[in-house]
C-alpha cells in the first residue's frame, strides 16, 4: 500500500489565504509516501509545507508559480504504475479530456495528474486514467463559479489504484472513492 497525495492549484497568496483548516488537520507528516503537485502553489512557503509532509515531492510548473524552474511536465514510476504530471495550462483546449489523453499518450503513462481547471475529475479511457485533484483551497477559477476545495489521495496496491477524493462542501469534508485496475502491461516500444 503506497499512498500518493495529488494536490494543486492552491494559488496562495494570490487567490487564497491558506489551506482550509479541516484539510490541514488531515494532512500530517509521515503518512504519505509521495506528493504529486500539479502547480500554482504559488510561493516557497507552500513548497516547504509540502516538503514537511513528505520528502518525496514532485511539482510541475503552473503559470503563477514564483519558482519558474519547476519542469513543464514530469513522469515517475510508483509500483506498477507510471504517472505523469502536468499543470495543464499548456494543453489546449483547457480541461478537454481528449487533448489530455493525447498528452497521456505522449508521456506514455498510466495515470496523468493534471490541474488548472480547479475541478475534480477522474476519467478513465483506453490509455489510462486522467485525474484532476481540483484546487486544494477552492481558489477562484473562471471555469466554475463555486469551487469546492479538494484534493486526491491515491492508494497504489499492485495493479490496482484506489482514488480517494476529499472535497470540502458546506464546511464538511466529504470523501468519495473510485477504483481503477490496470490490465497486465502490453509490451511497450522499448
Amino acid at each position: 500500500m503506497v499512498l500518493v497525495l495529488a494536490i494543486g492549484d492552491l494559488h496562495i497568496p494570490h487567490r487564497a489565504p491558506d489551506l482550509p483548516p479541516k484539510f490541514k488537520s488531515m494532512l500530517v507528516p509521515g503518512k504519505i509516501q509521495h506528493i504529486i503537485c500539479t502547480g500554482n502553489l504559488c510561493i516557497k512557503e507552500v513548497h516547504d509545507y509540502f516538503k514537511s509532509l513528505c520528502p518525496d515531492l514532485h511539482v510541475t510548473r503552473g503559470e503563477y508559480d514564483e519558482d519558474s524552474r519547476y519542469p513543464e511536465n514530469k513522469t515517475l514510476t510508483i509500483g506498477q504504475f507510471k504517472l505523469g504530471i502536468c499543470h495543464g495550462h499548456q494543453v489546449i483546449p483547457w480541461g478537454d479530456l481528449d487533448s489530455l489523453a493525447m498528452l497521456q499518450r505522449q508521456l506514455d503513462v498510466d495515470i496523468l495528474v493534471t490541474g488548472h481547471t480547479h475541478q475534480f475529475k477522474a476519467y478513465k479511457h483506453e490509455g489510462g486514467v486522467v485525474i484532476n485533484p481540483g484546487s486544494a483551497t477552492g481558489a477562484y477559477s473562471s471555469f466554475t463559479y463555486d469551487v469546492n476545495p479538494s484534493f486526491v489521495l491515491m492508494d497504489i496496491d499492485g495493479l490496482r489504484v484506489v482514488v480517494y477524493v476529499y472535497e470540502l462542501i458546506d464546511g464538511e469534508v466529504k470523501v468519495d472513492k473510485i477504483d481503477f485496475k490496470k490490465t497486465a502491461t502490453t509490451s511497450s516500444a522499448h
Binding site: H14, Y64, R105, Q106, A189
Partner: protein
C-alpha cells in the same frame, strides 16, 4: 526585656524566639488565654510591637561595620528577612483580626513602620509580604491605603514589581469566582490602581521607560482579566501609556519596545478577535510610537492573529482602521531607510499582506466594493516593490465580486459607487495598469486575460476586447524572453478559445493576431506547437457556430510545414534529422478533429501522415528517439482501440488503414 538587647542580630534572634514561643499563647478568640484582661487587641498590639522592633533592628544591621562589607551585609540581611516577616504571618493568622481591625490597626501601623524605616530592602520585602500574606478581600477593601503608601517609598524600591504582584493576586482572585466581581466595581479597583500607577510614575522621575510600560502591561493584564467587557478601561490604559510615550521623543530601549509589543498583543490574545482591538481608539496611537522595525513586527502579529483565528473583517470602516494599523507594511514610512530591508523578511511581510486581503470580505456587494476601493487606495501607495505581491490578491478579490454580481439581475446602484461589473472592470484596468511601474508585464498579461474571461462571462464584448488588446500590447512590446513568450501565447490561445462573446469581426482580428504571433515564436518546435494549438480557435466543441473545418486544417497543415522546416534545419545544422515527435503530435491533432467530425480531415490524410512519420523514422539520418517511438505506438494503439469500438466510431476509424 527584649528592648534591652540592642545588638541587631542578637536582638532579632531573641525577638524571633519570643514570637515563636508566644505564638500559641496569644489571647486570640477561642483560645484559652482569652479573658477580660487579655483580648485580641492585646495580642495584636503585642505582635505589632515585636514586628516594629524587629524591623528597626533589621534596618539597623546595615549600619554595622565598615562600608566595604556592604555587599556581604546585604546578603546577610536578606537571609534574615523571614524573621521579620514572620510577625506579619502571625498577624494574618490571628482569628480575631477581622477586616475592621486589619483596616484600623494592623495595616496602618505596619505601613507606618514600612514607610518610616526608609530602607529600600525592608520596604520592598515588607510590601510584598503584606500582599502575599493577607487575604485578597482585605486588599480590595484597603486598596486606597495600600496604594497610598507606594509613592512614599524610597525611589530605589522596585515599586512596579510590588504593584504587579498585587494586580496578579487580584486578577487571580477575580478569576476564582464570579461573585467577587461586583466587589471590584464597588471599590473602584481599576480607577484606584490606575491612579496609583500614575502617581508612582510621576513621583519617580528617573524611572526608565521600560519600567513605566511594564506597569501599564500589568494594569492591562489586570483589566483584561477582571473587566474584559470594559473596553473603555482597556482603552484608558492604552491612553495613559500613550501619554507617557509622548514625552519620550524616540523609544530606543529594546526592552521597552518588547513591553510595548506585549501591551499591544495582550488584547489580541484575550479577545481572539482583531475586530475588538480595532475599536480601541488608543491602539493605533501606541503603535505610532514604535520604531519602524518593531512597528512592522507588531503589524505582522496583528495579521497572524487574524489568520490564526480565521477572522473576517467585514466593513469598510474596520478595513480602514486595520490598514492604518499595518501601514508600516503597506508603504514606506517617510525617511525610512529602505536599504535595511531584508529580502526574505520583505517577501514574508508582503505575502502576509496579500493573504490578509482575502480575509476582507462582505456578502453585500456594495460594502464589498467599498472595501476593495479602500484596499486599492492603500496598496497603490505601496510603490513598485510591493505591487507584484498585493495587486494579484486585490484583482482576484474583485473578480470574485464580479462573479457574484453576474448571477444577479440588473444593476445595483449604491450611494457612492454603484456595484456593477462594468465599474469593477474599470477599477481592475486601473489596478493592473499600475504594474507597469514595476514593471511586471508577464503578471499583468495573465491578469488581463483573467479579466477578459470574466468579462466574457458578463457578456461585455467591448470590455473583453479591451482586455485582450492590453494583453496583446504587453506581449508585443514587453515580453521578450522566448520561454515567457511561449507560455504567454498558450495562455492567450487558451483564453481566446473559451471566448464566446466576440462577434465575427472581433474574433477574426484576435485569432489572426494570435496565429501570427504563434508562427513568429523564436524556435521552430515552439512555433509548430503554438500553431497547432491555434487550430482549436476554429473549433469549439460545445457551441454552435465556431466549427470551421477548413481553417482547422489550414492550421494543421501550417504546423506540418513548420515541422518539415524544423527537420530540414536540423539536417543542415546538425547532420541528423530533428524531432519526429512534432509530426506525431500533429497526427494526434488530426485524429482529434477527425473524431469530432471535421469533414476536411479524411482517413486518407491520416494514413499519409502515418506513412510520412514512418518514413522519417526509418530514414538513414534518423536519430533513434524512444519518446517518439513510444508516442507513435500508443497513438496507433489508440486508433486500433477506436476501430474495435464498433458502431459509428468504429466505422469512422475503419477509414484509416495501415
Amino acid at each position: 526585656m527584649c528592648r534591652g538587647v540592642q545588638h541587631p542580630i542578637r536582638g532579632l534572634f531573641l525577638r524571633s524566639y519570643l514570637a515563636q514561643i508566644s505564638r500559641d499563647k496569644l489571647p486570640d478568640i477561642g483560645s484559652e488565654y482569652e479573658g477580660d484582661a487579655d483580648t485580641v487587641m492585646d495580642a495584636v498590639e503585642f505582635v505589632l510591637q515585636n514586628f516594629t522592633e524587629m524591623n528597626k533592628l533589621w534596618v539597623q544591621m546595615q549600619h554595622q561595620g565598615p562600608g566595604r562589607f556592604r555587599e556581604k551585609q546585604e546578603k546577610e540581611r536578606s537571609e534574615l528577612r523571614d524573621l521579620v516577616g514572620k510577625n506579619l504571618h502571625v498577624l494574618s493568622q490571628i482569628e480575631g483580626v477581622d477586616l475592621g481591625i486589619y483596616k484600623e490597626t494592623v495595616l496602618t501601623r505596619v505601613l507606618e513602620q514600612v514607610v518610616n524605616c526608609k530602607d529600600d530592602l525592608a520596604q520592598y520585602y515588607l510590601m510584598d509580604c503584606i500582599i502575599q500574606v493577607f487575604p485578597d478581600e482585605y486588599h480590595l477593601q484597603t486598596l486606597e491605603t495600600l496604594l497610598g503608601a507606594c509613592p512614599q517609598l524610597q525611589p530605589t524600591v522596585d515599586v512596579k514589581t510590588v504593584l504587579s504582584r498585587l494586580m496578579d493576586r487580584l486578577s487571580n482572585y477575580a478569576a476564582s469566582s464570579e461573585d467577587v466581581l461586583p466587589e471590584f466595581l464597588q471599590v473602584e479597583a481599576f480607577t484606584k490602581l490606575s491612579n496609583a500607577i500614575g502617581k508612582v510614575i510621576e513621583a519617580q522621575v528617573d524611572m526608565p521607560a521600560v519600567g513605566a510600560i511594564t506597569l501599564y502591561v500589568s494594569l492591562l493584564t489586570f483589566t483584561l482579566c477582571v473587566h474584559p467587557d470594559r473596553l473603555d478601561y482597556v482603552d484608558q490604559v492604552l491612553g495613559a501609556c500613550v501619554k507617557k510615550l509622548y514625552n519620550i521623543p524616540k523609544l530606543e530601549d529594546s526592552r521597552a519596545m518588547k513591553q510595548v509589543v506585549a501591551l499591544l498583543s495582550a488584547p489580541l490574545e484575550k479577545y481572539n478577535d482583531i475586530v475588538t482591538a480595532l475599536t480601541l481608539s488608543n491602539y493605533p496611537r501606541v503603535m505610532d510610537h514604535l520604531d519602524n522595525g518593531t512597528n512592522k513586527v507588531m503589524a505582522m502579529v496583528i495579521i497572524q492573529s487574524i489568520m490564526k483565528n480565521n477572522t473576517f473583517i467585514s466593513t469598510a470602516h474596520k478595513v480602514e482602521v486595520l490598514f492604518e494599523l499595518i501601514k508600516g507594511l503597506i508603504k514606506d514610512k517617510d525617511g525610512a531607510d529602505v536599504d535595511e530591508l531584508d529580502e526574505e523578511d520583505f517577501k514574508d511581510e508582503q505575502n502576509s499582506v496579500a493573504r490578509l486581503i482575502h480575509m476582507l470580505y462582505n456578502d453585500e456587494p456594495e460594502e464589498m466594493l467599498k472595501i476593495i476601493c479602500i484596499v486599492r487606495k492603500h496598496t497603490m501607495a505601496g510603490g513598485p516593490k510591493r505591487l507584484p505581491f498585493t495587486v494579484p490578491s486585490l484583482v482576484f478579490s474583485a473578480l470574485r465580486l464580479v462573479w457574484r454580481l453576474q448571477g444577479q439581475e440588473g444593476d445595483i446602484v449604491g450611494e457612492e459607487v454603484p456595484a456593477t461589473p462594468k465599474k469593477i472592470f474599470q477599477l481592475l484596468t486601473q489596478i493592473i495598469e499600475a504594474l507597469s511601474a514595476v514593471p511586471s508585464p508577464e503578471l499583468a498579461l495573465r491578469l488581463y486575460l483573467q479579466c477578459a474571461e470574466a468579462a466574457n462571462g458578463c457578456d461585455l464584448e467591448l470590455v473583453a476586447y479591451e482586455f485582450f488588446t492590453q494583453a496583446f500590447v504587453l506581449y508585443e512590446e514587453e515580453i521578450a524572453d522566448s520561454k515567457a513568450q511561449v507560455t504567454a501565447i498558450h495562455l492567450i490561445i487558451g483564453t481566446l478559445q473559451r471566448m464566446n462573446v466576440f462577434g465575427v469581426e472581433n474574433r477574426d482580428t484576435m485569432t489572426h493576431k494570435t496565429t501570427g504571433y504563434s508562427a513568429r515564436l523564436l524556435k521552430k518546435p515552439d512555433q509548430c506547437r503554438a500553431v497547432y494549438a491555434c487550430s482549436h480557435l476554429f473549433w469549439v466543441d460545445d457551441q454552435d457556430g465556431i466549427k470551421d473545418g477548413e481553417r482547422v486544417l489550414l492550421c494543421l497543415k501550417r504546423a506540418l510545414r513548420i515541422a518539415n522546416a524544423a527537420q530540414q534545419m536540423a539536417n543542415v545544422a546538425r547532420g541528423s534529422s530533428g524531432p519526429v515527435i512534432l509530426f506525431v503530435e500533429i497526427l494526434n491533432k488530426y485524429l482529434y478533429f477527425f473524431e469530432k467530425g471535421n469533414q476536411q480531415i479524411t482517413g486518407a490524410a491520416i494514413q499519409d501522415l502515418i506513412e510520412l512519420i514512418n518514413t522519417e523514422m526509418q530514414s538513414d539520418s534518423a536519430t533513434p528517439d524512444t519518446a517518439s517511438d513510444a508516442f507513435l505506438a500508443s497513438t496507433l494503439r489508440y486508433i486500433q482501440f477506436q476501430k474495435q469500438k464498433g458502431g459509428v466510431m468504429g466505422e469512422k476509424f475503419e477509414a484509416i488503414k495501415f
